[in-house]
């Protein structure tokens, strides 16, 4: 069963992934994904109806801690990596309006 990735699908994936692809890159991406999905389809040979999806190998659940800040005030260090900084904030393009 050959997977066909439509233009819309690649557009949609680009939005989800927040990636901007050129026309050429889109064609290459489509071809790549089709090939990989064809290969991934081999998983359909397996009967997994009796199995629960397993994310974590060990039965470790609900690992919580108290909601207390322990790595306090390193504002300057954190801002030091800012691509663009304005006083105590990261400067970004307008998000509202």
């Amino acid at each position: 069963m050959a997977n066909k990735i439509s233009d819309e699908t690649i557009e949609h994936v680009g939005i989800l992934a927040k990636l901007e692809l050129s026309g050429e890159e889109k064609e290459a991406a489509k071809a790549d994904m089709e090939r990989m999905l064809d290969y991934i389809d081999t998983l359909n040979e397996l009967d997994t109806s009796e199995v629960e999806p397993m994310s974590h190998v060990f039965p470790v659940h609900n690992v919580f801690r108290e909601d207390v800040v322990t790595n306090g005030d390193n504002q300057e260090q954190t801002l030091a990596n800012a691509p663009l900084r304005k006083e105590d904030s990261f400067e970004v393009p307008k998000t509202i309006g």
Partner: protein, 533 residues
């Protein structure tokens, strides 16, 4: 005294006995690195000034009696996806090319507490996505055993640095084989611990349910010592596990009498290079002669591991890499028109082709309408694979097989066909899916002189079984295949004695002549950068 040939533990002992000063060891490694780096490119960042400063500080702590451990004063290299406070940490990506973390990864902190001197950060496949270290933004790393070949990946820089004696050991990370495969290609001992054994705090995540940090070392003893230093339960990593045992060095004993070792039939059949197969069977016979019981068996589900892995790893990666958006740190595109445009341009310019490929596949398999068919299906497959291993370990103490189907491929040959490259991960991937410990041990060379490694796989939390078997193999073979690389640059084998380098008139002179030799005598190598989309 020739220091570079020593193992980490041997150097540690000499430092402890005051036979060697920490600064002496650091200088030897730095000299070696400066000589070889133009060719090998193991390091993204070689921190000369920092290392020398650390050397003085560590020596004081040793002299005062504060530091008594086996790794005190021993210089090491750290894979560049492990955060170090104030130190450039790039994941070999353009998008983090200027990033200096505000904290240090827990595993590195533990090494620092033990008195390690960190020489620098090693090259890797971008964001750990790759098997050859060719997707790095900083150019490929070469295999010290043969500079026309890859070191493997994604911890290629860490492995090359140890094999070329540019450090005494290194840390790598392993999501689908990224410690074990390059260790095999470079003739080293590499260990991926049971999932949850080493804290992932500060490891820049690729596949969070699969990632583990582990040692890359010259021998099994070093591996055990390093693992003991870095393993811990950490409240800052909610997936970290509180183990009952951390005394891995107690397993450094010879003796596998009665140990039942299973070799999966599917691992030894079609697709496996005959020279690799030979070396693996030979190694199995060595263990058999030492009293182990070797048996072939059906592991089953082997061929489903790769598609399951790529769905899960890509899905987790697409989520983990969403944070690289040019807002708070790292690369931001120069010109943009609004927030979303900034996100897209930053990421499209900042990520390489392989990373983009996996992010897109991951986003797709997690998207509405496909989530069940792909992602949940893969997670169910993962459960089945774990069950298959559980069944195997009802009979066997250990599973033995190759670490990779071939020895190191040539540079520039792997990236054109990503799917083919993914198939090379066949033996290592399921170990990550099942969260089991796996170790790569050098067991031979092919006819080109390239190293072959065997992979030992243990049940969860059974690192000691792995260590004991591997140590027994070393005893029985007198570490025959744990030999440093003879780095051939042009017609000259790079001098690897600290004395030679210090004695000969000036490093720059030598490095210069080596570099020019390399340019005129080696045939042109066109490594694919892997960055073309």
């Amino acid at each position: 005294m020739d220091l570079l040939h020593l193992t980490a533990a041997e150097l540690g002992r000499k430092i402890k006995n005051r036979e060697v000063a920490v600064t002496e060891a650091v200088k030897a490694a730095l000299a070696r690195a400066k000589e070889l780096e133009p060719e090998i490119n193991s390091y993204v960042t070689l921190d000369e000034a920092g290392a020398l400063a650390q050397a003085e500080a560590v020596q004081e702590r040793i002299d005062s009696g504060e530091l008594r451990g086996p790794l005190a004063g021993v210089p090491a290299a750290i894979k560049d996806n492990l955060c170090m406070e104030g130190q450039l940490t790039t994941c070999s990506s353009k998008i983090l090319s200027n990033f200096r973390p505000v904290f240090t990864a827990e595993a590195v902190k533990k090494l620092q507490k033990a008195g390690a001197v960190i020489l620098g950060k090693t090259n890797m496949d971008e964001f750990a996505m790759g098997s050859t270290t060719e997707t790095s933004y900083y150019g490929p790393t070469k295999n010290p055993h043969n500079l026309m070949h890859v070191p493997g990946g994604s911890s290629g820089g860490s492995c090359a640095a140890v094999a070329a004696q540019e450090c005494w050991y290194a840390l790598g990370s392993d999501t689908g084989g990224s410690i074990r495969q390059p260790s095999s290609f470079c003739g080293l001992v590499g260990l991926k611990p049971t999932y949850g054994t080493v804290s992932r705090f500060g490891l820049i995540a690729y596949g969070s349910s699969l990632d583990q940090i582990g040692p890359v070392a010259k021998d099994v003893s070093d591996c055990a010592v390093i693992l003991e230093a870095i393993a811990s339960h950490d409240a800052k990593d909610s997936t970290s596990v509180q183990r009952k045992d951390y005394d891995f060095t107690s397993a450094l004993v010879c003796g596998v009498k009665g140990m039942k070792i299973g070799i999966p039939k599917d691992y030894m059949g079609e697709g496996l290079d005959p020279e690799v197969a030979d070396a693996i069977w030979k190694a199995a016979r060595v263990l058999e002669e030492q009293g182990a019981v070797i048996e072939e068996f059906d592991l089953s589900l082997v061929k489903y591991a790769i598609p399951a892995y790529y769905v899960i790893a890509s899905a987790e990666a697409s989520s983990n890499l969403e944070r690289f958006d040019g807002v708070k740190y790292g690369y931001r595109t120069a010109e943009y028109d609004g927030l979303h445009n900034m996100y897209k341009k930053t990421r499209s310019e900042g990520f390489g082709a392989e990373v983009k490929r996996r992010i897109m596949l991951g986003s797709f398999v997690l998207s509405s309408g496909y989530y069940d068919a792909y992602y949940l299906k893969a997670l169910r497959t993962k459960a089945l694979i774990k069950q298959a291993f559980d069944r195997a370990f009802e009979t066997y103490d250990l599973i033995l097989g190759p670490a990779a189907p071939t020895t190191a491929p040539e540079l520039g040959k792997s990236l054109q066909d990503p799917l083919k490259m993914y198939l090379g991960d066949i033996y290592t991937i399921s170990v990550n899916l099942a969260g089991l410990p796996g170790m790569s041990v050098p067991v031979g060379r092919d006819s080109k002189g390239l190293p072959v490694g065997m992979q030992l796989i243990g049940n969860s939390f059974q690192e000691k079984t792995l260590i004991r078997a591997a140590y027994t193999y070393e005893c029985a073979t007198e570490k025959q295949y744990e030999v440093p690389a003879e780095v051939r640059i042009g017609a000259r084998i790079a001098a690897d004695r600290a004395g030679d380098l210090r004695g000969s008139g000036g490093q720059t002179g030598d490095a210069g002549s080596l570099a020019s030799q390399a340019k005129t005598e080696l045939p042109e190598v066109q490594p694919k950068s892997g960055r073309e989309a």
